[in-house]
Symmetry: none
Subunit: 203 residues, 4 copies
DNA sequence: AGATAATCGAGACGGTACGTCGGGTCTTACG
DNA sequence: CGTAAGACCCGACGTACCGTCTCGATTATCT
């Protein structure tokens, strides 16, 4: 996750593998209790039972650490097989909304995105660890829908990006900016819009 | 803009009106140069030629100040009248994308949203100053499309919220998270998706 | 004591005069309890009820602070008038030894002298605040002895320096290096040596 | 030099003899370049081409290491035979002053003395390694002067201590505290004072 | 020859203090 | 009163060394 493995050292005491996990868990815990802006690396180190230096040896700063801590949250996402494209979308969107409802995701995610607007390395890390990694969901959903005959067997790669931006963007905006719950009612309306568009439905 | 006006005092030296504008301008300038996280209120005060005391008398902190400074940026948005709903949407989305391309909006907006996940007053301030204020664009667009007969004359108010989340969310996600430009090609594809849905078009 | 008075500011909150005294007292207290090497500026600030920044605004570091704190200790030295040069010397040497027996002087003094071997500004500060200031004792003692006719009325200024180095050096060496008490017996033997020399007496 | 020799083990890899010398040399080198307070054991180890572990296996810490490194410097002192007590004293004092003029002695010596005021074991080590070892010079000088008939053949042992404190103290104070060179002129004046006293000479 | 054991280099580890920076508050003199 | 200036307390920053530890690799002596 962190760009380590420095050409495989031979000598010296090896880095503690347990420390990595403890630090990431402590980071999420601190995010829940304190939120991004009040989270301090000293506190995270203490919670993890680790010295500050150990933390800094592995991560360059708060941003990098939180990206890694948050990215893991999204790995539990799975696109369900409910028999229809609409039902599949509704399922995954609800999962996504559930993660965004958790406090460790809410403030952490937006904050690192904010920071990434001025930090190219951070943006790349976010893209690699979170965005690109989750596009698998769109791909799998489309493949399945094509197998069912719900979508034509074409495959413009930019369409995947577009759909990902629309779905993820809508849920994030609903949840964090409008600050309204992305509940089942909303998800159904959103899925309908996504499938048939403004013109197709009653609007 | 700032919820002040302390019951209109009679005595004492009145507050400098120029200071407010100077501070907000200095804030945007500092956002461009430094970004959210490196912006300091002491620096803003210096740029504005104002004492820190003066700044704190008017705003409670960094978050409130930046919300006000950023909110003004979105007031220039106008939905154009290009003769069709599709063209109108494309126009306003491009305007929105242009604002989000400006550095003073990029990091400032996301950062205050991140903070708002743990600060109800701030969330309310964002909703009032930015979100609700710009929903006028969706309303106006729909009214115009209904007049043209492009949309049925129905008016579910939750649909406005949905569309706003989808449009704003997609552009923000494309621009800041995926970190790709919301250029004319992308806007056209997005508008088509919005109007006819995944199923209706080649998708 | 500290080279302040920066051209006499007009504006802004003035520096707290109480803070200076509190910090110097806290420094001596910490020297007694912890000694030079375990004394930390953060701890001194806490003891003085002052923020670390306040301390750093006034002193450049541990060395400068301790010089000022220790220098005050020697201001209480007075050369007594006991009727003869020998008795006067014995009196002042005993006073000096008593100060060097106090823990706040012991480790602090030697430590700053050690540091001063690599820091010209510090050496100058020590010379001004401590060495030159206490040479008054030698001058006064000589003047008095000349009035009594115990010493010829000549006045080679380098002799003052020589005597000061011999007296101060001997007491410091006896006390801190040999680590034996400079008690009355020793002081008497030393004074006899100083007055009549190795050859004159039994040696 | 270091109180080791752990009961003479039989088995296991023996300690490198070269390491000891390399470490002491590196210590003196670092003292010259950096001075006591900026000297770090990690740096000394690197200079000596040795791991930190190796260094700590032999010395308990910075103080002990520096005492050993500095003590060796004084072993080169020899009291010359110039035909008279005065000339002998002048000779050895000049040698002593020359050593104190070297940077590896200056800051190292004073610093460990400062530390020794709070560390009995260290004080004892200094006394053994440096102070008592060099008293041989006073003893030899006196013996020789007595043989010449310059001093009475008495031998109060406390007089040796007194003279050692006076001579060493004066040179150290002149050199390090007053920060003036102990040159030939000064040494001559000091020797005269030591031999005939304040009263005997012009003062 | 093989087992045993202390050494060596390297470098990660838990700590403590550093000196700096920014946040907000307060205290001046001036308008 | 408002204001500019700047000192104040506080808490976090990221770094540097401390002295300890855990590695794999040597290098001895003792079976």
């Amino acid at each position: 996750m962190q760009s380590r493995t420095p050409a495989s050292r031979a000598t010296g005491r090896p880095r503690s593998a347990a420390a990595d996990a403890a630090i990431l868990a402590a980071t999420r815990e601190a995010l829940v209790e304190l939120g991004w802006s009040k989270l301090t690396l000293g506190d995270v180190a203490t919670r993890a039972g680790v010295a500050k230096t150990t933390l800094y040896r592995r991560w360059a700063g708060k941003n990098e650490l939180v990206v890694d801590a948050v990215a893991e949250l999204f790995d539990e996402l799975e696109i369900p097989n409910r028999g229809s494209l609409a039902a599949d979308i509704e399922g995954v969107v609800l999962q996504f909304a559930a993660i965004l409802a958790r406090p460790e995701a809410r403030s952490g995610l937006m904050a690192v995105i904010a920071e990434s607007t001025r930090d190219d390395a951070l943006r790349e890390r976010i893209r690699t660890s979170i965005v690109e990694r989750q596009k698998r969901l769109v791909l799998e959903g489309r493949t399945r829908a094509q197998a069912r005959g719900e979508l034509p067997p074409e495959s413009d790669p930019t369409t995947v990006d577009l759909i990902f931006d629309v779905v993820a963007g809508a849920v994030v905006h609903r949840t964090l900016v409008s600050a309204e719950p992305a509940d089942e009612r909303w998800v159904r309306a959103f899925t309908r819009l996504l499938l048939v568009g403004l013109g197709g439905a009653a609007g």
